[in-house]
C-alpha cells in the first residue's frame, strides 16, 4: 500500500524547498572554494617559503616579510602605487563628480550623447588603452607632443614664463613623466565610469530638499554642500573605496605601456607589477605571496580608515 498522493507530493516539495538553495549556491561555493579560498590559504602558507617554482620550497618563516620591509624595490613600488592612487582619487573623483553634476543639468543639450562619450573609454580594455596611449605619447612624431608643442610654442613667444613642450619629450622614458602619463591615461579611462555612479546617485537625491534650500536662500554652492554631498555620500564612499582599491591593484596599464621593466628607474613599478615580477620572472612564488598579503592587509587598513573618515560606519549604525 503506497502513501496517499498528496502526502508524497508534499514530501517532494519540502525536499526540493530545502535542497534548492544549496543546489543553486553549490556551483559558486565549489568554484570559490577551489579558485578562491584554496589559493588564499595556499598563498598564506607559501609566503613563509623561499621558492623556485612550486617544486622547490624551503621554509623560511617570516623571513620574506622581514626582507620585504627592507626591500628598496618594494618601497619604490609602494611609493609609486600610493602616488598613483592619490592622483586617481583626488583628481579622478572630483572630475567625475563635476562631470556628473554638469551632465545632470536638464538645460544641457545632448547630455545623453555626452554621457555616452565620457563613458565609452571604459568599454575598451586596459590593454587596448595602454597600446593607444603608448602611440599618443611617442616622442617627436606622437600626437600629444605635437599638439602640446604647437600650443606652447606660440604661447611662449607672448608669455615667456610658459615653457615650450619639446617634440622629443619622452613621456614613457623620462622617470619624472612616467607617473603623469599613467595618471592621464587612467583619467581618460575611468572618469566617465565613475561619473555614471555619481549620476545615478544624483538622481536619487530628493528634489524637495533643493526646493526647500532655495526657499531658505541657499545659493548653488551651499546647496551642493548641504544637500548634494550628504545625498550622494553612500555612493561617494563606495566609489572612493573601489577607486582606491583599483588604483592599488594597477597592473595592466604600466605593463603594456612600460613593459616588464616597469619604465626608467622603475618609475612605473606598482605593487602588483612587483608581485608579478617576483612570482613569474624571478620565480619566487613565496616572496610574491608575501607581497600579495602585504598589499591585501594594506588595502584593508586603508579601506577601514576611509570608511571611518567618511563616516560610513556611522551611517551604517544609523
Amino acid at each position: 500500500m503506497s502513501a496517499p498522493r498528496g502526502i508524497r507530493a508534499d514530501g517532494w516539495f519540502r525536499l526540493q524547498h530545502r535542497a534548492a538553495p544549496y543546489l543553486f549556491v553549490a556551483p559558486f561555493v565549489l568554484l570559490f572554494l577551489t579558485f578562491g579560498l584554496w589559493p588564499i590559504v595556499k598563498s598564506l602558507t607559501l609566503s613563509m617559503y623561499a621558492t623556485s617554482g612550486p617544486k622547490d620550497q624551503v621554509f623560511v618563516g617570516a623571513a620574506n616579510f622581514r626582507f620585504l620591509l627592507r626591500d628598496p624595490d618594494f618601497r619604490i613600488a609602494v611609493a609609486n602605487t600610493a602616488l598613483f592612487a592619490f592622483w586617481s582619487v583626488f583628481v579622478q573623483l572630483p572630475l567625475a563628480l563635476g562631470l556628473a553634476l554638469l551632465l545632470s543639468r536638464r538645460w544641457l543639450r545632448g547630455r545623453e550623447f555626452l554621457r555616452l562619450v565620457f563613458f565609452s573609454p571604459n568599454l575598451l580594455g586596459q590593454v587596448f588603452v595602454g597600446v593607444l596611449f603608448s602611440v599618443l605619447f611617442v616622442p617627436q612624431y606622437g600626437l600629444l607632443n605635437n599638439a602640446l608643442h604647437g600650443l606652447t610654442e606660440p604661447l611662449h613667444r607672448w608669455l615667456s614664463f610658459i615653457p615650450v613642450v619639446e617634440l622629443d619629450t619622452k613621456w614613457l622614458a623620462n622617470p619624472a613623466l612616467v607617473m603623469p602619463a599613467l595618471v592621464l591615461t587612467s583619467l581618460w579611462m575611468y572618469v566617465g565610469f565613475n561619473m555614471i555612479y555619481f549620476l545615478a546617485a544624483l538622481q536619487a537625491v530628493d528634489q524637495d530638499l533643493y526646493e526647500a534650500a532655495t526657499v531658505d536662500g541657499a545659493n548653488g554652492f551651499q546647496q551642493f554642500l548641504a544637500v548634494t554631498l550628504p545625498g550622494i555620500r553612500p555612493v561617494a564612499v563606495f566609489v572612493l573605496i573601489t577607486s582606491t582599491i583599483g588604483s592599488f591593484q594597477l597592473f595592466e596599464l604600466p605593463y603594456i605601456m612600460l613593459g616588464n621593466g616597469s619604465g626608467p628607474n622603475k618609475a612605473g613599478l606598482t605593487i602588483v607589477m612587483y608581485l608579478y615580477q617576483m612570482g613569474f620572472v624571478t620565480g619566487d612564488l613565496g616572496y610574491a605571496s608575501a607581497v600579495g598579503w602585504t598589499l591585501a592587509l594594506g588595502l584593508l587598513v586603508i579601506s577601514l580608515a576611509q570608511m571611518r573618515i567618511t563616516g560610513a560606519f556611522r551611517s551604517g549604525a544609523e
Binding site: 507530493a9 517532494w12 516539495f13 526540493q16 524547498h17 534548492a20 543546489l23 543553486f24 556551483p27 623561499a50 623556485s52 617554482g53 612550486p54 617544486k55 622547490d56 624551503v58 626582507f67 628598496p72 624595490d73 611617442v138 616622442p139 617627436q140 612624431y141 606622437g142 619639446e166 617634440l167 622629443d168 619622452k170 622614458a173 623620462n174 622617470p175 616588464n260 621593466g261 616597469s262 626608467p264 628607474n265 622603475k266 615580477q277 613569474f280 620572472v281 624571478t282 620565480g283 619566487d284 616572496y287
Partner: protein, 446 residues
C-alpha cells in the same frame, strides 16, 4: 508536470539548473583531443616559423611515420606558458625556442628540476662544441651544464644611412675606434634634429652591448654578479656623456613605426645592427633601400674586437618529451644542415652558430638594400670575435638594475656634468649591483 511546477523557484530556474548540469557533464565527458604529431615545437619568431615549416617535409621524408607540428607562440607566452607547464607537470612541446633574455630564468632551482634536457654530453659527442661558436653556449649554460643549442651568433655592426653620412663628409673606412666615431659624431650631431647614433638613455640595451664588447657583463662564468667591476664602471663613464649633456651624440625615440620614421628622416644616422636587425630594417624601412650600409663596430682600442652581441635564441628539448632522441634529430636537422641554414639565411639574415655553414654561397651574395654589400660575409667575418655573455636566473633583474644605474648616472650628469661624476658612477653601480647580490643571496637553490 505537477512535480515540475512544484519546483520552488519556477520552471525557468529549473531549466537553468538542468542546462548548467547537462552542459557541465557533457563538457566533462568530452575526450581530450589527441595530437597526431610525434614531435611538437614552439617558436616565437615569424621568420623562424616560416623557415622551420619549410624544413619539416624533408625531415618527415627522412623519418617515415614521423609527423612534426611547428607552432608559432608569442615570446611572452612561450616564457609564461612553458614555465607554468614545467611547474605544474603539464604537457609541454618536445622542442622549444626561447629568447636569450628569458632562457636563464628556466635554469633556477636544482639542476634536476630544470625542465629542459641536459644537452652537454650530446653536444660534445656530436662535435658541436668545436663546430659552433663556443661563446654562444654561455647564455644557455648553468653550473657547467648546457641546456640549449644556440640558434645564432648575433654579432653587431653599425647600420647607417650611407647617402646622408657620405654627404656629411664622413668616411667610415677611416673610423676604427670609438674615439674616431665620437669625434665624427660631435661634428654632425644637431640636438633634436640629427643624432650620430641610436643610443637610449633610459634602458641598458646598448650599454650592455658596449659592456660585452669591452669584455664585461652582468655575470661571471660562475653566475656571480659583476657589472659593477672596473670594466662596468669605465663603460658607464664612457657611455653617459654620449647620451646626456651638451656634447651628446646619441639619441633615441623608441622602436616600431617611430624608428622607421627616424631612419627615413635621417634623425638617426647610425644604428646598432646585429644580423637579425638588418632583416627588420629591410622589412620596416623599405624606402631607404640602397641607401643603407654596414660597418663593423668601432673598436674600443685600435686592434681590438670590432663587434659585440645583441639578442639570441636557444633551442631546448623538454625533459617530458617522450621522444628525446627524435627531438635531438630534428634539432640537428634545423640547426646543423648547412644547405638548410644557407636558405634560411636568405630569409632571416641570421648567421647560424655552425661555423661550417658560413662557407655556403648564400652568405656571399651582395644585398641591394645594403648598397650591394655582402651581408653574410661581413657578419661571418666578425662572428668568431663575438664576446661571451654569461647568464643567471637573475638576468632580468640584473638588466633592470643596470638600467636603473644608467638612469641615475644620466640624471646626475645632466645636472652636474663631469664634476664628481666618477665617484658617483662607482657608488651607483656598486649600489645597484649590491641590491642584485642581496636578492640573489636569498635563493637557497643557487
Amino acid at each position: 508536470m505537477n512535480r515540475l511546477t512544484g519546483f520552488p523557484y519556477g520552471i525557468a530556474a529549473l531549466c537553468i539548473l538542468a542546462l548548467a548540469l547537462a552542459s557541465g557533464v557533457w563538457l566533462a565527458a568530452q575526450p581530450i583531443g589527441n595530437s597526431t604529431a610525434n614531435l611538437t615545437m614552439w617558436t616565437f619568431a615569424n621568420t623562424h616559423y616560416d623557415a622551420y615549416k619549410a624544413a619539416v617535409p624533408s625531415f618527415e621524408k627522412a623519418h617515415p611515420g614521423v609527423r612534426v607540428d611547428v607552432q608559432l607562440v608569442s615570446g611572452t607566452a612561450v616564457t609564461s606558458r612553458l614555465q607554468a607547464a614545467f611547474w605544474a607537470d603539464l604537457d609541454v612541446p618536445d622542442l622549444v625556442e626561447v629568447e636569450i633574455s628569458s632562457a636563464a630564468s628556466f635554469f633556477r632551482g636544482p639542476l634536476e628540476h630544470v625542465g629542459f634536457l641536459d644537452l652537454t654530453d650530446r653536444i660534445h659527442r656530436a662535435g658541436l662544441w668545436d663546430g659552433m661558436v663556443q661563446a654562444r653556449f654561455a647564455p644557455y649554460t648553468t653550473r657547467g651544464r648546457i641546456f640549449g643549442l644556440p640558434h645564432d651568433v648575433h654579432p653587431v655592426q653599425l647600420a647607417y644611412r650611407r647617402d646622408i653620412v657620405e654627404g656629411l663628409g664622413i668616411d667610415v673606412s677611416k673610423i676604427e675606434t670609438w674615439a674616431d666615431f665620437v669625434a665624427a659624431g660631435r661634428r654632425v650631431t644637431i640636438p633634436n634634429k640629427r643624432y650620430m647614433l641610436e643610443m637610449p638613455d633610459t634602458d641598458a640595451s646598448r650599454l650592455e652591448m658596449c659592456l660585452f664588447q669591452r669584455g664585461g657583463g652582468y655575470f661571471d662564468q660562475e653566475g656571480r654578479c659583476r657589472f659593477d667591476d672596473e670594466v662596468g664602471v669605465q663603460t658607464m663613464l664612457w657611455y653617459v656623456p654620449l647620451v646626456a649633456g651638451p656634447r651628446r651624440i646619441g639619441g633615441d625615440l623608441g622602436g616600431g613605426q617611430i624608428l622607421t620614421k627616424a631612419i627615413e628622416d635621417g634623425y638617426l644616422l647610425f644604428l646598432a645592427a646585429p644580423d637579425w636587425r638588418t632583416r627588420s630594417f629591410e622589412m620596416d624601412v623599405p624606402r631607404v633601400s640602397g641607401k643603407m650600409a654596414l660597418m663593423p663596430l668601432p673598436a674600443v682600442k685600435r686592434g681590438g674586437p670590432r663587434t659585440s652581441t645583441w639578442g639570441g635564441t636557444m633551442l631546448g628539448i623538454t625533459k617530458r618529451s617522450p621522444h628525446p632522441d627524435l627531438a635531438w634529430e630534428f634539432a640537428r636537422h634545423l640547426y646543423l644542415n648547412p644547405a638548410e641554414l644557407a636558405e634560411r639565411f636568405r630569409g632571416t639574415n641570421i648567421i647560424p652558430a655552425l661555423r661550417s655553414a658560413w662557407r655556403q654561397p648564400a652568405f656571399s651574395e651582395p644585398r641591394p638594400y645594403w648598397s650591394n654589400q655582402r651581408l653574410g660575409d661581413s657578419y661571418a667575418l666578425l662572428a668568431p670575435q663575438t664576446p661571451y655573455q654569461y647568464a643567471s636566473p637573475f638576468i632580468s633583474t640584473a638588466k633592470g638594475k643596470l638600467s636603473e644605474a644608467l638612469v641615475a648616472c644620466v640624471q646626475r650628469y645632466r645636472a652636474e656634468g663631469d664634476a664628481g661624476f666618477e665617484p658617483f658612477v662607482r657608488r651607483q653601480m656598486g649600489m645597484s649591483a649590491g641590491e642584485l647580490r642581496r636578492l640573489m643571496s636569498r635563493s637557497p637553490f643557487l
